[in-house]
């Protein structure tokens, strides 16, 4: 399965969140016209939204967990294509202007992501990236969506 099937009147999104500012988001969306503008947003450089969800940094990754992850090349084309592109390859280069000092590593560039399916006040599905490029299986997410819709 390479394409996520959403019933738009029952499940909204997916909403994609990155780190950066409107300028960088605009540049990114201009260069990726197939991505709907109304579903992509940026968190501020303090990563407050990421932090509130408990999403960690790459440096937090457990070495044993990292060994278990198999990375695959992104597959382009259709919804599944840009889904994987966003999850695997896209970056807004979240380094705040004039905040990078020589020899330091900006926290934003080390941020791991996550995927959530929300139902009311409940999290039906949660997948926290273990390493960069680690993404949830679309099949698993689709299964949860189907189950949620059928309720």
């Amino acid at each position: 399965m390479s394409k996520l099937q959403l019933s738009s009147d029952k499940v909204s999104g997916p909403y994609f969140i990155s780190i950066g500012d409107a300028e960088k988001l605009g540049v990114f969306l201009d260069s990726n016209p197939n991505i709907p503008r109304e579903i992509v947003f940026v968190d501020s450089y303090d990563r407050s939204a990421y932090s509130s969800m408990g999403l960690g940094l790459i440096t937090d990754a457990d070495k044993e967990d990292v060994k278990k992850i198999k990375l695959t090349a992104p597959e382009m084309g259709g919804f599944g294509g840009w889904w994987k592109y966003l999850r695997n390859a896209a970056t807004l280069a979240p380094i705040e202007k004039d905040k990078t000092k020589f020899g330091s590593i900006p926290t934003g560039v080390l941020q791991l992501g996550g995927t959530y399916l929300i139902n009311g006040d409940d999290i039906v599905y949660e997948y926290k990236d273990v390493v960069p490029g680690d993404t949830p299986k679309l099949e698993d997410l689709q299964r949860e969506i189907d189950s949620l819709i059928s309720q």
Partner: protein
């Protein structure tokens, strides 16, 4: 702010465990004050905090802070920026059922 809210709820919960029955009545007053402070300042709606403060203050310090409710609440209250530069509250975009993806970064 969201971090502060979470920290406050955690502190309240840890306080319940640490003090236990012996401080029951005094603690009840403290917790009530804390709940009012939280709800008035942040419109706090977590069932978890209500549960930990209302149900068993005097019986058993059985703390069950519901991380899920807190996380969903934080997610909906997240203030993000759209492509126009406008600040948006993610909860205003989300429906009752939604998919939200946080992208990772390598720079």
């Amino acid at each position: 702010m969201r971090v502060t809210r979470y920290a406050l709820s955690s502190i309240l919960s840890v306080g319940l465990v640490a003090l236990g029955r012996r401080e029951c009545h005094a603690l009840s007053r403290q917790v009530a004050g804390g709940r009012n402070f939280l709800s008035s300042r942040y419109s706090f709606s977590s069932s978890a905090l209500k549960a930990s403060t209302e149900q068993s203050v005097c019986s058993v310090p059985d703390v069950d802070v519901d991380d899920v409710s807190l996380k969903v609440s934080a997610l909906k209250e997240a203030i993000l920026t759209d492509h126009k530069g406008d600040a948006i509250r993610l909860g205003d975009k989300m429906g009752d059922k939604s998919i939200v993806v946080f992208l990772r970064h390598l720079g």
